[in-house]
């Protein structure tokens, strides 16, 4: 298992806790993640204003991975969607491939179809497998009552994801979290968007969308959220205080990355998993798992 490791923009700048915990978990499982210095933004944030530029940026990154002879592993769901969509087009649409290659010729690159793009969660399920993953666990996280948030681009648009998980009844993240012994809490708005892409357009609308989910999750009795996308984290963790003050409410709900939960079960320490960098404090929730520290 060897992948070109595509971090995107948000993770190296704002979600080092996600990157740290993902690298730890991957290493433990023998997944080799190769850093590619020349990677740039996946193109997703520019898609709304310039679809063509977004496509070219996606193709550029895929061409770099292809040059290394590697498939791509991502941590961000927006990167997953953008790169998977372009990879899908490169593999199925000759006209689109010619159009993208005409642009890439300016930087001396050429891209063919055939590069796969995989979110790390998907690699864990499909490549590592539940049994080998659980085989690395040394702690049972039975006190965690976790509400998973799939977000949107981890699964959608479904036509590009070749049958990975079911959009209207997803199971992949619950399956992974349940392996740690944590209780998975179901809740009504599980499939709802975090609102993140609207943040640069209308902050009140974006925060209102995020608030609905926080309300549902707390109401259902969860004591933690589990995420697989750094932008969802910006909404639920980074902006949780803003939501509390804007709507005069209080959650204090720790928001963890999937890789932090899996790493916790593997026995990694608080700082090794970047748990000290989460905005909403995780110390009280997780203290029993770190008695020796």
């Amino acid at each position: 298992m060897k992948y070109a490791f595509f971090l995107g923009c948000t993770i190296p700048a704002r979600s080092r806790n996600y990157e740290l915990s993902a690298r730890k978990v991957a290493e433990k499982l023998g997944i080799e993640l190769v850093d590619v210095d020349a990677f740039m933004c996946c193109g997703f944030p520019i898609k709304a204003s310039d679809h063509h530029a977004a496509e070219v940026m996606g193709a550029y990154n895929i061409a770099l991975a292809q040059r290394e002879g590697l498939d791509i592993c991502v941590l961000c769901s927006s990167c997953a969607s953008q790169l998977t969509e372009v990879a899908h087009q490169l593999s199925t649409d000759v006209t689109a491939r010619k159009r993208m290659n005409a642009e890439l010729s300016r930087v001396g690159l050429e891209v063919e179809g055939g590069v796969n793009v995989r979110h790390l969660a998907r690699v864990l399920l499909e490549e590592v497998g539940a049994e080998d993953l659980a085989g690395q666990f040394v702690k049972n996280l039975s006190d965690l009552k976790t509400a998973v948030h799939y977000g949107c681009h981890y699964l959608k648009p479904s036509e590009i994801y070749a049958g990975f998980d079911a959009v209207e009844d997803p199971k992949s993240l619950e399956t992974l979290v349940a392996l740690t012994g944590a209780t998975v809490i179901d809740y009504p708005g599980k499939k709802r968007c975090c609102g993140g892409p609207v943040l640069p357009v209308d902050e009140t609308v974006a925060l209102s969308v995020a608030k609905e989910k926080l309300d549902d999750v707390v109401e259902a009795g969860a004591n933690a959220m589990c995420l697989v996308c750094p932008f969802c984290s910006v909404m639920y963790d980074g902006n949780q205080k803003s939501i509390e003050s804007e709507f005069e409410t209080r959650y204090g709900l720790p928001v963890l990355y999937l890789t932090q939960i899996l790493g916790l079960a593997m026995g990694f320490g608080r700082k090794e998993l970047g748990l000290n960098m989460n905005v909403v404090k995780t110390k009280d929730l997780l203290s029993k798992y770190f008695e020796k520290e």
Partner: protein, 157 residues
Amino acid sequence: MEGIQLDRADPDFKKQLAGQPGGEKISACFMCRTCTASCPITAVNDAFNPLRIIRMALYGLKEEVLHSDFIWLCSSCYACQERCPQGVSITEFMTLLKNLAAKAGKMPAGIRAQRDIIKGEGRIYPLDDFDNKKRGKVGLPPIPTSCSMIKNLFPSE
């Protein structure tokens, strides 16, 4: 909500949209409102209503749609597109509308800023030496602080 004014309609708008990715199937819309019922944005602010935007486009209300603030409220979550019984690529259609508006120079300041910084720096959050210092402190490898390739990729920008 105001009524839709048809006297300024551009009958060719529908054809213009149908010829571009995302616009191919909008004429198949039979107004079931599954999109609007599924929309997490409509649920908190009904200024955004996918069914209404599709109808306005089909009626030819080009200026009203492309100069609107509401098209930018789409979060591109694909809830509508996944559920549309007529197979309309609604999310891609919203992206098409945003692209046409942006081409005409009409886009929110935040979206313009994102575009400019990405086309200038190759990243939405450019990294500096201080970031790499923080990365190094926790054992993460450094990331290049500039991306010269972006200028070669988009030379005219």
